[in-house]
Symmetry: C2
Subunit: 179 residues, 2 copies
Amino acid sequence: MNADTGDVQPLDPEQMEAYFALLEAVSLLQHQVEQHLRAEGDISYVQFQLLARLVHAPGPLTMTQLADGVVYSRSGLTYQAGLLEKAGLITRGPCPDDDRATLVTLTQAGSDLFHRVLPGHVQLSRTLLFDPLADQDVHHLGDIMTRVRDHMRTLPPRSAAPRKRRTTPPRSGSDPIAG
Amino acid sequence: MNADTGDVQPLDPEQMEAYFALLEAVSLLQHQVEQHLRAEGDISYVQFQLLARLVHAPGPLTMTQLADGVVYSRSGLTYQAGLLEKAGLITRGPCPDDDRATLVTLTQAGSDLFHRVLPGHVQLSRTLLFDPLADQDVHHLGDIMTRVRDHMRTLPPRSAAPRKRRTTPPRSGSDPIAG
DNA sequence: ACACAGTGATTTGAATTCGAAACATGTACG
DNA sequence: CGTACATGTTTCGAATTCAAATCACTGTGT
């Protein structure tokens, strides 16, 4: 690789604008959502995502299944699961099929909390993201970002497999705002 | 409004898709960019942003000016500025107009590093973000996200916080978001 | 049965971030 | 002048994240 010569074409002004507006807007959105969830239910956005996955899952999930798509390290999930368990929102128990695995189960309190903060979360995403957009914009945005997301999903594993690659089905997974 | 009853309509499937695709795509993009910058120039994305602001600024910036739009706390910038100064990429000096302020100046090494990692950064954003998009998509994406960003920049911070209300103490500093 | 690589989860340590409080200077007003 | 408040920055503590190392179990080959 010749890193000394700048033999890469610069981005068009339009690309630059899209790139930076995208990153900054999402940063603002994430920050607001984080503040809201903390004030409303005393949970972080990561914890909200984990509860959402459990709510929409057919049953208990293993730690790795729960981590996939939410955090980039398994240890990060161990930490969050500890907090959620201490708060009484989930329980961790052994997996009958595999003694190495830990099955995470949503408690009634966890389900209650999720459904308590969900309306506000939906309302906030409306206020922040969808208010300034027309229906056509939303359609186009979803189309664009779905393509980008699926494109990037094909490249990296999510929850970091330092040893070997996992064959994770590209499932859409969490949709906590499904009424 | 009544926060106890879930009298909020769920999002349309199309809105839901756009919302989650947006957040996950940007999360993946940020993570890849972070990895790249760390490997290429041993800097974080935040540090890259700070160098970028200094490169494009007409002259030195104060800490607050530098923080705007990059971090959500001034202390976070103090920490990063310390790292950048220790790495020889910036210098901090007094401000002649205001003895309270600190002027941050880009060094030659800082400028060199920025221009060294920029081509790879641009190339990566191309590969991850713009490859699956047509020119018209890029245009629309920029238009949409610019509107969303500007919309969020000008929102009242206290929109929905029914619980945990405390008499607002002196508003510490200016809003780093609303430049 | 036994070694051994592969996999699930946790522990540990370092890095980064934010919020509150402390600190220093500037400004307004009696 | 002097006091009170506003503004720019830093210090400090707590929370969160990741990567590397570690522990525990599974399955396979011999």
